[in-house]
């Protein structure tokens, strides 16, 4: 019983040690799982709030693009006397910029060169 399978000393203390380690491992796994579960729960609570935060961003993003375009166009017209072409061109560009910002905030377009602009949406 003792010397046969390379276990010179008595198996009972070895066994108890093994079961102790098993119990310990079980406990640690349980802890891990529990913390994972709470993390998941926290995430699902956070998701709608982040959606609301995202919704708050979109309108202002679009308006700001158009406003900036109009302001720059108006300034260019005043400085260079190109009225009304500066306003027309920059208003259109501002419109495009506004749409781009909105689509970036919504995560429809990939962040592009400006970095990950849509982290908040995830």
């Amino acid at each position: 019983m003792s010397g046969r399978d390379g276990q010179p000393s008595s198996p009972p203390p070895d066994d108890s040690e093994l079961s102790q380690r098993l119990r310990h491992l079980d406990r640690r796994l349980g802890d891990e799982r529990r913390s994972e579960r709470t993390a998941n729960a926290k995430l699902s609570v956070q998701a709608p709030r982040q959606g609301y935060a995202l919704a708050m961003r979109l309108g202002a993003d679009f308006v700001a693009g158009v406003v900036v375009g109009a302001a720059i166009g108006w300034g260019v017209d005043r400085l260079l006397g190109t009225s009304p072409w500066g306003l027309i061109v920059f208003l259109l560009l501002g419109f495009a910029a506004g749409i781009l910002s909105v689509m970036r905030s919504a995560g429809v377009v990939k962040p592009g060169p400006a970095g990950p602009d849509d982290v908040a949406g995830r």
């Binding site: 700001a64 406003v67 592009g112 970095g115």
Partner: protein, 249 residues
Amino acid sequence: MAYDPIHQFRIENIVPIEVGGHDFSFTNSSLFMVLTVVASTAFLVLSTQRRALIPGRWQSAAEMTYEYIAQTLRDSAGNDGMRFFPLVFSLFMFVLVANLWGMFPYFFTATAQIIITAALAGIVILTVVIFGFWKHGFHFLRLFVPSGVPKAILPFIVAIEVLSFLSRPISLSIRLFANMLAGHITLKVFAGFVVALGSAGFLGILGAVLPLLATVALTALEFLVAALQAYVFAILTSLYLNDALHPGH
């Protein structure tokens, strides 16, 4: 005058100061900004005074705000974004506390003034631009040049990217200002309905129940908006700082 919903945003001089023909008066707006700074400083200093291993109620509130903003900043700007933590956290606390001061009846909402939100957005964008150029030099301009775009339309794309960048401080300031302004006006208008209907006899008092309920609900919504706008301001700040730290990946 009692129902004028705009009256609450009027700036009034408390201590008139004039330096060299310019008006530097201490106004009700200045007063509430000072109160904001005092309240947020007092909250953080007093609540972390004991530094207990097991935090009390106040200390854990302070630790939660710290950890929430730190996590937001790490998520959006990476670990090296933490060097901007003082800026982001100060902005968050300032906007949050100024919004909350505005929730008291008869108090002034500093963040409903566009000049104040524009100044806050200006701080953010100037930090991004100055730090971006200091850290990356002209490499920072790669922010505006996407890779893999055909040469023919590149000028348009660059113009749109530049405009989109320039619109950021505008949208940052408009969002906060418009949310606070619109919320407080709505609240005032609905509360005005209660008074107007209530003075119109018995049926009027019955009818006044509806706007009263709406006012209660809107007050709760305003508290949500106050906290949410501060959070949105902080998260957008950290996203823009991310551009300064890592332009053109």
